[in-house]
Amino acid sequence: MTNSIHDMGGTHGFGPVESEPNEPVFHEDWEGRVYALQRAMGATGLWTIDGGRASLENLPPLAYLASSYYRRWFLGLERRVVAHGLVGEDELAAGRALRPGMRLNRKMTLDDAKAMSFANFDRPSPGPARFKPGDPVRTKNLHPATHTRLPRYARGKLGTIEAVRGCHVFPDTAAVGAGENPQWLYNVVFTGRELWGEEADPAIKVSIEAFEPYLVPA
């Protein structure tokens, strides 16, 4: 979902940011296991990183806010393995496998984990980029019911192309199984006043990374 609780930029009322001195990587062992399960199951290639994000965004808003970060990851992963037919609800209830697993095309091995490679989202371009640095653009006023990476606070706003990032997997289609559909990606910078009004601090600028379908010439 797009207009959901995860899209937090500009929301008031969450209070101060509190950092923890000498914070451990994981606070509980189960958090590390969830992280590892998420990485390993992501490597199966059965869903995309955007599909994974969408499954977290689709959590009910109260569950999203009330859950710690790795609990959200866990809930999203549980939903995904069931939705893809990898695990049955009866197996989750039993806490053990009741049937043999499906055959996977890819599986993360110990050697893969040691190699520690990070996914690459660059793709060959389908055509020339529509914009260049310095071009004025306006973000579209989009409210799709499915996944998007155009945050609410930056919709319908006037900005400037600062950089062209190349062509990347388009999250809006990749998340819903509609293909990578590579699109040009840009850094678009806005003044604080364009985003937050005349009272905003003139010293502030905010940029987003915006895919070409989010933009029109201004």
Partner: protein, 213 residues
């Protein structure tokens, strides 16, 4: 733990519930042949010991002493970091942004938790928290104040919202009084927060005080 983390209830029932549920899911996924426990252990070891802010700190320190490396870093951070790290962060589309006396950079992910894993490791809880994700784009000075950071009057602030697979590393300003320091000594001044933009690199005095404790 931060008081605003809803996970830190004192009664502990969520913890035991999560321990049980995670264990059950791992058991099922292992029995069905989808995951290898040894690979899971290695994935955890990677983020607990191999990647972390020490890598970013080495990159920043080198940029401070080597103008040619700094030029490469600001042009193509993925290539420059590959040449310093012990591994190849392929695919990470990394962008380095330099703090100057005119402009201070801050990185956020308002939509989730995007963070430059290969150079900083996994993000701290505050980076993923609702307060940071909500306020940084509208009230960055307030957020910096939460971290005890106040910038000289007239400093512009640039917020980088990580809304795609591009990732950002802030190159903080080299502290005064570090002329002639080795790369290794400089790296000790480069904090995680200074590479996100919610902190500044430590001064020699701050570092000396901490080291003496």
């Amino acid at each position: 733990m931060p008081a605003n983390d809803p996970h830190t209830h004192d009664h502990g029932s969520e913890l035991s519930e999560m321990q049980l549920r995670v264990k059950a899911l791992e058991t099922i996924l292992t029995e069905k042949g989808y995951v290898e426990p040894a690979a899971l252990d290695q994935i955890i070891e990677n983020v607990e010991t191999r990647i972390g802010p020490h890598i970013g700190a080495r990159v920043v320190a080198r940029a401070w002493v080597d103008p040619e490396f700094k030029r490469r870093l600001l042009t193509d951070a993925t290539e420059a970091v590959n040449s310093v790290a012990e591994f190849d962060p392929v695919g990470a589309h990394l962008i380095a942004v330099e703090n100057t006396p005119q402009t201070h950079n801050v990185v956020v992910c308002t939509l989730c938790s995007c963070y430059p894993w290969p150079v900083l490791g996994l993000p701290p809880v505050w980076y993923k928290s609702a307060p940071y994700r909500s306020r940084t784009v509208i009230d960055p000075k307030g957020v910096l104040a939460d971290f005890g950071v106040s910038l000289p009057p007239g400093t512009d602030i640039r917020i980088w919202d990580s809304t795609a697979e591009t990732r950002f590393l802030v190159v903080p300003i080299r502290p005064d009084g570090t002329e002639g320091w080795s790369e290794e000594a400089l790296a000790a001044l480069v904090t995680r927060d200074s590479m996100v933009g919610t902190g500044l690199a430590k001064s020699p005095e701050e570092h000396g005080t901490e080291a003496a404790r």
